[in-house]
Symmetry: C2
Subunit: 124 residues, 2 copies
DNA sequence: CAGAATCCGGGTGGATACTG
DNA sequence: CAGTATCCACCCGGATTCTG
C-alpha cells in the first residue's frame, strides 16, 4: 500500500525544508570564505580575521559559532597568556570542503560572464 | 617587480567580493531548489510552483528573474491562449547543476547529524 | 588576543489581493 | 496561466564600544 498523495508531498516538503535549513548555514555571507580558509589547515581567530578580510570580528565570531554548532568546525581553547583559540574543520566540515571549493571555483570562472549577463539584462 | 602588499590584498579582497557577490544568488532561499527542479528539464511557471512547494508565486517569480538576470535560466514566452512560459537552464546554469546537486546531496546525507550536533551544542 | 554587548538601517521574504 | 502590487515583520550584518 502506497501512502496517500498528501502524505508523500508533506514528506517531500519536510525533506526539502530540512535541506534548505542545512544549506542556509553555508548560504550566509561568510561561511564559504571561512571554510575555504580552514581548508588549508588550523587557524587562530585573528589569523582567520586577516585572511577573511573585510570580515568584522563580530561576523567572524558569529560565523564560527554557527559552523561549530553544526559540527563543521572545532574550537580549541589553549589556556595560555595571551589566550589562544584554534579553529579547524571537523571530519564533517572536511567532507564539505571539496564542494565548497568547487562552488568557489565555479563562481570565479563565471564571474565575468555573470557580470556581463547582468549588465545586458539591466539594459532592458 | 612584484606589486606592494597593499595592492595584492586589495585584489584579493576584490576577487573575494566578486565571488561572494556571485554566490549570494545561489545563497538565497529558493535558487537551489529551482535549479534542481530545472535540472530535470524544461518546466512551466505553475509547474515549478507546485514542484517547489511551499514557495509562493512572488518568490518564484523573483527567484527566476534573478537566475535569468545572471544568465543561468532562460525564459521563453509562447503567445498562446492561455499564455505559457517555459523556463530552462542555460549552458551556464547547467554547468552549475552538478555542484548544486552535490550540495543538496551533502545536505541530505548530513541533515540528521547536523540536527543532532545542534541539539547537543544548544544543550550548553 | 579573542571575543561580547548594544544599537540600528536596509533588505529578504511571507501574506494577501489584484491583473492581462 | 503567469505573473504584479502593496504592505510589513523579521533578522542579517555593519559600526562602535567594552571586556577578561
Amino acid at each position: 500500500m502506497s501512502p496517500p498523495i498528501a502524505e508523500i508531498e508533506l514528506d517531500e516538503q519536510a525533506r526539502r525544508a530540512l535541506i534548505r535549513d542545512v544549506l542556509e548555514r553555508i548560504g550566509d555571507k561568510w561561511s564559504v570564505v571561512v571554510i575555504c580558509q580552514l581548508g588549508d589547515g588550523t587557524r587562530r581567530f585573528n589569523e582567520l580575521s586577516r585572511l577573511s578580510e573585510p570580515i568584522t570580528k563580530r561576523m567572524l565570531s558569529a560565523t564560527l559559532q554557527g559552523l561549530e554548532r553544526d559540527g563543521l568546525v572545532s574550537r580549541t581553547v589553549h589556556a595560555t597568556k595571551p589566550p589562544r583559540v584554534d579553529y579547524a574543520l571537523t571530519p564533517r566540515g572536511a567532507s564539505l570542503l571539496q564542494i565548497v571549493r568547487d562552488l568557489a571555483g565555479w563562481a570565479e570562472e563565471n564571474a565575468a560572464g555573470i557580470v556581463e549577463a547582468r549588465a545586458s539584462f539591466d539594459a532592458k
